[in-house]
């Protein structure tokens, strides 16, 4: 090991920061090539029915228009499901296939694509496209649709259905002295990343395509377009080095990719297609979900039963699923648990993963119910959680690889000043404001995926690490650079990380918070393999190294040295030259340890504390303070890690108080599809947020890392809603809590 340059675990400014703030980082919609054409999508005005006729003449005659594509003249896209199911994020059902027929599945569905010589011409022409429809009455109201709710016949790959019941929850509930059953609901949300979906397809001739697209993993769009268009994988490269936020919406390919590729192949030229902000609301959303939670407990606050039933919206054509209720069997020790999960169909596009899919919703409901139970029992909400602390994953009956949630509770409560809380609601005030303190628990699975990575050292002693994963703004470039710099003993300025390109070593999509653990472990392994190679090379060049094992070697900024004799050094330049090439490279594949994951359950945890101020008369809510104490294994970079938790906390605050996608029930149309009317928290809404990382020693991977992308949002909405109850004595069980709900 070397101890000269320690990067891992220290706050390191983002290595890609300067590129981003100076505009040199090129996003998918910013790639420009000679002779490029521009696309614009015309969208459906209705939510359900058929297109009787499309009026394209005006658009075709508009200035600069090169072509208009639609279902009317079959553009040649396959009309069976199979190729589209090659999308690694596909869910059970029949994937949306634009331009296949005259059917309208959701409002805003693409009905035509205009290709023109400029973005403006394309957009102007698209605005001229109208259609006559045979409209049918759409259903977008989950309350109404839930009458036809069903258990998904086919589970979504990788998403465990609820575990089987344990004990007898119904009997235990009936026999319990303290009981509670309530309905909860969180409004539908959209991801609203800053960058809209965009694809630039560069026509390189000979059928070769370089596709720049917004994605959370380049290999998925590549597999998808190759399957849909029957392309030779060797002729397609997908590039996406920078992603302006995604939060899950760019896990699956969307119609920008499909239509831009269609246009490029049809016209045999380069095409760029950018979607509008409004069109960002025609794909992927956090599904509207109805929860019923029933809890029972003994007088001293031991849970005797937990039941959690959820009905979640999905589209007519696909069964999107997320693990919404499973958390309720995991978070607390309880002998009797029944969980159920059903879907109900709406005439909308298919929902998609959105930051902490399932957990953000399910744990809101459970943790709001726990707060109600605490208040009924007259037990402190934090104390109630401690009394029911789970030392084991009872869903799978396994021990945890590590679980420092108690430390989160303790440290969070201390920093927050939880002991100031008076038990009675409406008992704390400050001037005209009621003060409320609330808390909740967060939990997210610590997952890993196979990842490959390559490390290459050149003659100048510069190290490049490469992995096909994505940095969607989380800081992957930075932590991978830190890991590599430390492994080779190099200053970080000499390290470059390359991501987001199908020519790089293979990685799956970046999601589920597995990036740091998986890509990090892969990079670390590649660096270890590179060190072996460098040492082997040194052995042949300097007799002093003849018997040196890796433990005897030191890797420094200058070269490989012997720990016992630092004077014996072989310079990197000499190593590379002797190896006869531009550099020495090692590529490895990281595979999660199956044995370990079979034996242990691995989760991140958090304790979230919120202080709210509510104007009693007007219902105006301010979140004054949030404290989030997180146990997530080893923290590679406290600066970027903190940012992840801050972002999650603000998003959770949005879920609690602001965010809501609003449909017109008759039209089946989203009426606030813009950032002016879809409210995400503004700066004025974002309070002081304190982040604590508690020490947690985990062995699931060599880095000891669990991942941080999602845990930051989980529990936040419940903590705030619970604080609003504490302040006002009013339980609002339908988020967001807008002021009218408190009047």
């Amino acid at each position: 090991m070397n101890d000269v340059l320690a990067y891992v675990g220290r706050p390191q400014p983002r290595v890609d920061g300067p590129l981003k703030v100076t505009g040199r980082a090129r996003y998918a919609a910013e790639v420009a090539v000679e002779g490029m054409a521009y696309g614009a999508v015309a969208s459906s005005a209705i939510a359900r029915g058929r297109i009787r006729s499309l009026h394209l003449a005006a658009a075709k005659a508009a200035p600069g228009v090169i072509a208009v594509l639609s279902h009317e003249r079959d553009p040649g896209l396959p009309d069976e499901d199979d190729p589209y199911l090659k999308d690694m994020g596909a869910v059970p059902g029949s994937p949306f296939r634009p331009f296949c027929d005259d059917r309208i599945h959701f409002s805003g569905q693409p009905i035509a694509l205009v290709i023109a010589d400029s973005h403006e011409h394309a957009r102007d022409a698209a605005a001229l496209i109208t259609a006559d429809y045979d409209a049918e009455t759409p259903q977008v109201d989950l309350m109404a649709a839930k009458a036809a709710a069903y258990v998904p016949p086919e589970p979504r790959s990788g998403i465990p259905p609820p575990p089987p019941p344990r004990g007898d929850a119904q009997a235990a509930f009936a026999a319990a002295p303290v009981r509670l059953q309530e309905d909860y609901r969180v409004a539908a949300e959209h991801h609203n990343p800053m960058e809209t979906m965009a694809t630039t397809v560069v026509w390189e001739g000979d059928g070769r395509l370089a596709i720049h697209t917004k994605t959370q993993g380049v290999n998925n769009p590549k597999t998808y377009v190759c399957a849909v268009f029957g392309l030779d994988p060797d002729a397609v490269r997908v590039i996406s080095p920078f992603v302006g936020g995604a939060f899950g919406m760019a896990l699956r390919p969307h119609y920008d990719l499909l239509l831009a590729t269609l246009a490029a192949l049809t016209l045999k030229r380069s095409v760029r297609l950018t979607l509008t902000r409004q069109q960002m609301y025609t794909m992927g959303w956090r599904p509207d979900t109805l929860h019923t939670v029933a809890l029972s407990a003994s007088e001293d606050g031991r849970l005797t039963s937990i039941r959690h039933a959820a009905v979640q919206a999905t589209s007519r054509y696909e069964d999107y699923q997320e693990p919404t209720v499973n958390w309720s069997g995991l978070l607390y020790a309880c002998p009797n648990v029944t969980l159920s999960y059903e879907l109900a169909k709406l005439d909308t596009s298919t929902p998609s993963d959105m930051r902490a899919p399932g957990a953000a919703l399910g744990l809101y409901a459970l943790e709001a119910a726990m707060d109600e139970l605490a208040s009924r029992l007259k037990i402190d909400p934090l104390e109630l959680r401690l009394r029911n602390y789970a030392e084991r994953d009872f869903n799978e009956d396994k021990p945890f690889s590590s679980k420092e949630l108690k430390a989160c509770y303790r440290q969070g409560a201390e920093r927050f000043g939880w002991d100031r809380r008076r038990p009675e609601p409406r008992s704390m005030r400050d001037g005209s404001e009621l003060v409320g303190l609330g808390m909740a628990t967060g939990c997210w699975e610590a997952m890993m995926q196979p990842h490959a990575a390559r490390a290459t050292l050149d003659a100048e002693g510069r190290l490049e690490v490469a992995c096909g994963t994505a940095d969607i703004g989380t800081g992957a470039y930075t932590i991978l650079s830190q890991i590599a710099a430390e492994a080779l003993g190099l200053p970080i300025e000499r390290v470059t990380a390359k991501l987001g390109d199908t020519t790089l070593p293979k990685a799956p999509v970046e999601g589920g918070s597995w990036g740091a653990a998986s890509a990090g472990s892969a990079v670390q392994a590649a660096c270890a393999a590179l060190k072996e190679k460098l040492l082997a090379q040194a052995r042949g060049m300097n007799g002093a190294f003849a018997n040196a094992a890796i433990a005897h070697a030191r890797f420094t900024a200058d070269g490989v040295a012997l720990a016992s004799d630092p004077a014996a050094t072989v310079a990197y330049a000499d190593l590379v030259r002797a190896a006869g090439g531009d550099g020495i490279a090692a590529e490895t594949e990281f595979e999660p340890d199956e044995e370990f994951t079979k034996k242990y359950a691995s989760y991140t945890h958090s304790a979230v504390f919120a202080e709210v101020r509510v104007d009693e008369e007007l219902g105006v809510i301010r979140v004054a303070r949030l404290v989030s104490a997180v146990a997530a294994g080893r923290i590679l970079n406290p600066a970027t890690a903190r940012s992840q938790i801050l972002g999650g906390a603000v998003m959770g605050l949005g879920m609690a108080l602001h965010e809501e996608t609003v449909w017109d029930a008759t039209l089946g149309r989203i009426m606030n599809a813009n950032l002016g009317e879809y409210h995400i928290p503004s700066h004025a809404d974002a309070p002081d947020i304190e982040v604590i990382f508690v020490d947690e020693d985990d062995r699931a991977n060599p880095l000891g890392v669990k991942g941080l992308g999602e845990i930051g949002i989980v529990g936040v909405a419940a903590a705030i809603a619970n604080a609003v109850f504490h302040a006002t004595g009013r339980r609002v069980r339908h988020l967001p809590i807008t002021l009218d709900k408190l009047l």
Binding site: A45, I46, P63, S107, E120, R123, D124, A127, G431, S432, E433, R613, D615, E617, L618, G619, V620, R622, L657, H658, V662, D664, A665, T666, L667, R669, M671, N672, N674, G676, E677, H679, P681, S682, H683, A684, D685, T738, L739, D740, L743
Partner: protein, 338 residues
């Protein structure tokens, strides 16, 4: 967006003539509303007449002891203008309650007066909307109407006027100066915006070709007892669900003059002289404020989604009047409501 031609007016006469000559012409000032509407294909002017080079800038004291605000004065310049901020703090506060700093820098005084409703159907050309497409119907009446009017609405349209600045101008009884093909005229702000009636496509009483040149404020009276209280769905950067501009003159423990206007509740800033008169002559008290609130809200009706605005407005009026009477106006940067 549909292609349009563009004329940079060199003189006011130029601009007026250009507007009168071509029916599809529209004035563009800051563009923060008009350009959005063009991008949404809600407005498709054939010609834009850019008035930003005309000499309509500046905030000048009038002989009557008031202020004359050029129509092109940016919202932020007005809010931070020393004399305006000192003598008309209610106006400055209302301006700062609106939009964002960037928008206020670009938005002009004239444009703010003539900004169009934020009814979601008005912005979506795939839906029926009498204001956008007369005769097509009103989707908001039975649809999403959380932000719709509770006062002065018609069968044809239930939209609200979204401006904050205008609510303060209504309370301050500003005069709007316009100039058109038939010369110059001045009208009280109360006569500028109209109720929707059966012609909701017309927001204002201006004639074709008329340009707002200035807004004039009478001599200041409410430097001490005033408050602009805005309630919205987040603490900044959202349109008002309900807003209140309250201004009082108090002497010898009695209200001498009262001005009270509501935003977010009607097709225009809502003001009823009798409601104000109820306050005048009386000592400021919660009971008096409640009585004025009830008078101002008389006839208010909800459509479902906006029912909450009626009790909310009542409470907001009482609160704003309390703040005004106490000489403790609502701060627009500190988010605690005092």
């Amino acid at each position: 967006m549909t292609p349009f031609s563009y004329l940079r007016a060199q003189s006011l006469q130029d601009a007026i003539a250009a507007l009168a000559a071509e029916p599809g012409s529209r004035v563009i000032a800051g563009g923060t509303n008009l350009v959005d509407l063009m991008k949404y294909d809600v407005e498709a002017p054939r010609r834009l007449v850019d008035i930003t080079r005309l000499p309509l800038h500046g905030v000048i004291p009038t002989d009557a002891g008031g202020l004359r605000i050029g129509a092109l004065t940016p919202n932020s310049d007005l809010a931070y203008h020393p004399q305006a901020a000192r003598d008309y703090p209610l106006l400055a506060s209302a301006i700062l309650a609106g939009a964002s700093a960037q928008l206020r820098n670009a938005a002009t005084t004239g444009g703010n007066l003539l900004q169009r409703t934020r009814c979601p159907y008005f912005y979506d050309v795939a839906t029926a909307c009498n204001k956008r497409a007369p005769g097509s119907g009103c989707s908001a009446r039975t649809g999403i109407n959380r932000n719709a009017a509770i006062l002065g609405a018609s069968e044809a349209c239930v939209a609200t006027h979204p401006s904050d600045m205008c609510v303060a101008l209504a309370a301050l009884e500003a005069i709007v100066h316009v100039e058109g093909p038939n010369g110059a005229r001045a009208l009280p702000i109360a006569d500028l915006h109209r109720l929707p009636g059966d012609a909701p496509e017309r927001d204002v009483t201006l004639d074709r070709g008329e340009i707002i040149t200035a807004v004039e404020l009478p001599s200041p009276r409410f430097g001490r007892h005033h408050s602009y209280l805005k309630l919205r769905d987040r603490l900044s950067y959202a349109f008002a669900l309900v807003s209140v501009a309250a201004a009082l003159e108090i002497a010898g423990g009695r209200v001498v003059t009262a001005r009270l206007a509501l935003g977010g509740v009607a097709h225009k800033p809502w003001r009823i002289r009798e409601a104000e008169a109820l306050l005048e002559g009386a000592a400021p008290s919660r009971a008096a404020f409640a009585e004025a609130a009830d008078r101002l809200l008389q006839g208010a009706v909800g459509l479902g989604g906006n029912d909450f605005k009626i009790p909310l407005a009542r409470r907001a009026i009482i609160r704003a009047l309390t703040q005004a009477a106490d000489g403790a106006p609502q701060s627009q940067s500190r988010k605690v409501i005092n």
